[in-house]
């Protein structure tokens, strides 16, 4: 028994390209690949919960028509060990060439922008060597997190945040299947909090519905704060108030206790920094520090040390 049926996001993930909401251009191109029976290496880029994994899995499913097992593999590429695993897996693929049907297998590499530059360099060679038997679908939140030579080997597909209308469509689809009723303002709250992230929207709906089968504005507001902890904003505020040590502690909590990735923290900080109130010259300095931290972390430097400089930039007063 799988845990998939316990979580709505998974239970109602579209199985086929036809069920995917919006993303029309992507879907039509993917369908044309299926028609010709060949697929290029691809890079799906976009923020969380926008259908990247969904589209990749649906493509595999439609392509192999239900007999996908053994013909594709999903890997998480976020750590160094990942690259060796990938090498092994791909080697195995090469050995066991599928005799019937489509002459290649598909490797889905999740969070490939979390791979270090070195791992990406290694991946580049792997992609070349096994090009005849394997197609890669790289999933990433940021295009610039992927090194140029890999980008140039891939067809790039963009997955921007979903529009409120589409989030609504996806939500209603799930709620109806679950037999949950909703008030209009509850729906509005979810859509607002989701910021175009379908996973977020569905997760909020599931946790707010509890056992009651009814979504109200109150139940939504109750879970939103927990699902999206305000910790990053609090950390920024602490730094702005001059309390660097507390801010750094909170950063350590996010990194080590919650285990968040440096990329997620940096992205969230970036979002917050745009809206929080501060002197524009200071904002410039802070955003500059953020960029530097981002770059160095992607080169393998220490996340806590690098992000701390951003906090320090927030502390400093400009004369």
């Amino acid at each position: 028994m799988s845990v998939a049926d316990l979580l709505w996001v998974e239970k109602y993930r579209p199985r086929s390209l036809d069920e995917i909401i919006d993303r029309e251009e992507v879907v039509s191109r993917l369908k044309s690949f299926i028609k010709i029976g060949n697929v290029p290496n691809m890079l799906f880029v976009g923020p969380p919960g926008t259908g990247k994994t969904t589209a990749a899995l649906a493509l595999v499913n439609d392509l192999y028509q239900g007999s996908a097992s053994g013909r594709f593999l999903e890997l998480n590429a976020s750590d160094e060990r990942g690259i060796n695993t990938i090498r092994e897996v791909v080697k195995d693929f090469a050995r066991s060439r599928p005799s019937t049907g489509v002459p290649f297998k598909i490797l889905i590499l999740d969070e490939s922008d979390n791979m270090t530059q070195d791992a990406q360099q290694a991946l580049r060679r792997i992609m070349e060597r096994y090009a005849s038997v394997t197609r890669f679908i790289l999933l990433a939140n940021y295009q610039w997190g992927i090194i140029e030579p890999i980008q140039s080997r891939c067809a790039v597909f963009r997955f921007p945040p979903l529009s409120p209308t589409h989030i609504r469509e996806g939500l209603i689809r799930v709620l109806e299947k679950e037999g949950v009723s909703w008030s209009e303002e509850a729906l509005e709250e979810i859509i607002k909090a989701s910021r175009g992230d379908m996973r977020k929207a569905i997760n909020i709906a599931q946790s707010a519905s509890g056992g009651s089968k009814r979504l109200t504005k109150e139940s939504i507001l109750q879970v939103v704060g927990v699902l999206h902890p305000r910790e990053i904003r609090e950390m920024i505020n602490e730094a702005l108030n001059g309390d660097f040590v507390s801010a750094r502690k909170r950063l350590a909590k996010l990194l080590y206790d919650d285990g968040l990735s440096a990329n997620d923290i940096l992205r969230e900080m970036n979002n917050e920094l745009m809206s929080v109130e501060m002197d524009e010259r200071k904002r410039l300095q802070v955003v500059n520090a953020l960029g530097e931290a981002n770059f160095r972390v992607s080169m393998g430097a220490d996340a806590e040390i690098q992000i701390s400089t951003v906090l320090a930039a927030l502390v400093a007063d400009l004369k």
């Binding site: 799988s2 845990v3 999740d110 969070e111 927990v226 750094r248 400089t309």
Partner: protein, 410 residues
């Protein structure tokens, strides 16, 4: 603290042989030797690492067997008049009504080789004394002692086992009415390296002003003592160095590993610099970090001085606001705990990831909070546990997800 109060090491100094923990063979050997002793018997030497009970064993054995102890230590033996006027008469004691005497040269490896007067005196005494002569030393192989070594009966004493130390510490805690956590006692005993004195001192340090200390706090307090003075000294020298060159040299000549120095600087910069300078300072630290990663990856050790320059600069951007408040790096202290925690996370996520088609970041960012919320519901929790075949997995789920849930929502 009250000046007249005894330290715990003094207060809990064993009064009877039974109270002396461990080293049973040495205890028996020494008592047997004493009881066998006759005028032609040789002298005995207890030897072993510090704080295992050498001095105490001699003192307790003497009082148990009815000896009066004439005790000297390294500083007394230098004084010839003392040897002549106190020790000699005791050694040739003929008085019938005074109690039996025993002469004790404690810390005898402290005698310097040049002090041939004292050594000759002791050698002579060993041959002719009418009362037992006992010695204690940490290092019996010290060249100072080689002439004595062959003439005495050697009794080795060993480091005390962790369990024995823990037991003794627990007795002391009970007597002092403090609540002690087993893991804290284990920490103290483990760090003591078999030295009971050090263990009791650490115990007093932790509990003399508090009734309860948790492991984390204990580690924090004790790690201070463990750290070599060295790194504090280095940091102080760097922080107050007149020139960049001097500061940088102090860092590079430290015995700490470069990556550990980085940790010390990163921890302490915000403690000693004014807020205004933090950004400039931390940028140097961040550059040093990035540079070090390159250095170790590409074996660019010849540019290591640049790394030290950057770290030194981190301190030199501004005058220090605070003289001596360096602290032990949190990241070094927490390393093991964080490693364990991360391991748990990874085991748990490898279970969820394959069913839920999410990567590591998404799992942490979106799914953990979701699971925590949903797990408040009894039915959900049960269904989830039902899907986990592996007992270990259930435990992880309970500690990582539910444990947190309880804390947050109860």
């Amino acid at each position: 603290m009250n000046g007249s109060k005894l330290s715990w090491v003094e207060k809990y100094k064993p009064k009877t042989l039974d109270e002396i923990v461990g080293n049973d063979a040495a205890k028996k050997d020494f008592i047997d030797w004493l009881q066998r002793w006759d005028r032609r018997g040789k002298a005995a030497m207890l030897h072993g690492p510090p704080g295992v009970g050498k001095t105490v064993l001699v003192e307790v054995a003497a009082s148990t067997l009815g000896y009066r102890l004439i005790e000297t230590n390294a500083s007394d033996t230098r004084r010839e008049d003392y040897l002549e006027n106190v020790i000699k008469p005791a050694a040739f004691n003929r008085s019938l009504f005074s109690s039996r005497l025993m002469i004790f040269f404690d810390e005898i490896d402290g005698i310097s080789r040049e002090d041939s007067g004292a050594l000759n005196f002791i050698l002579e005494l060993i041959e002719s004394s009418r009362v037992p002569i006992v010695m204690a030393a940490n290092d019996p192989w010290s060249p100072n002692l080689f002439r004595i070594r062959d003439k005495v009966y050697m009794i080795p004493m060993h480091r005390i086992r962790v369990q024995s130390i823990v037991k003794r510490l627990r007795d002391i805690c009970r007597n002092e009415g403090v609540r002690c956590k087993q893991e804290v006692l284990m920490l103290i005993a483990g760090r003591s390296e078999g030295d009971m004195r050090a263990a009791i001192e650490d115990l007093e340090l932790l509990y003399s002003s508090r009734e309860d200390v948790d492991l984390e706090e204990a580690e924090k307090i004790l790690s201070y003592r463990n750290v070599e003075k060295n790194i504090f000294e280095t940091l102080r020298m760097v922080a107050f160095a007149p020139t960049l060159e001097k500061a940088s040299t102090s860092l590079s000549s430290s015995e700490e590993k470069p990556e550990d120095i980085l940790e010390w600087v990163f921890e302490n910069v915000p403690h000693v610099l004014p807020r205004q300078s933090l950004y400039r300072s931390l940028r140097y630290v961040a550059e040093a970090d990035a540079l070090f990663k390159q250095i170790s990856k590409n074996s660019l050790w010849r540019i290591l001085p640049c790394f030290y320059h950057k770290l030194a600069s981190a301190f030199l951007v501004a005058p220090q606001k605070n003289r001596a408040s360096f602290s032990f790096p949190t990241r070094m202290r927490e390393r093991f705990k964080r490693f364990q925690h991360e391991k748990n996370f990874r085991e748990l996520e490898s279970f969820f990831m394959k069913d839920l088609h999410v990567g590591r970041s998404t799992f942490r960012r979106d799914l953990i909070p979701l699971l925590r919320l949903l797990s408040k519901n009894e039915d959900f929790r049960r269904s989830m546990l039902n899907r986990m075949v592996d007992q270990h997995l259930k435990e992880l789920y309970s500690s990582v997800i539910l444990g947190e849930a309880r804390k947050r929502f109860s």
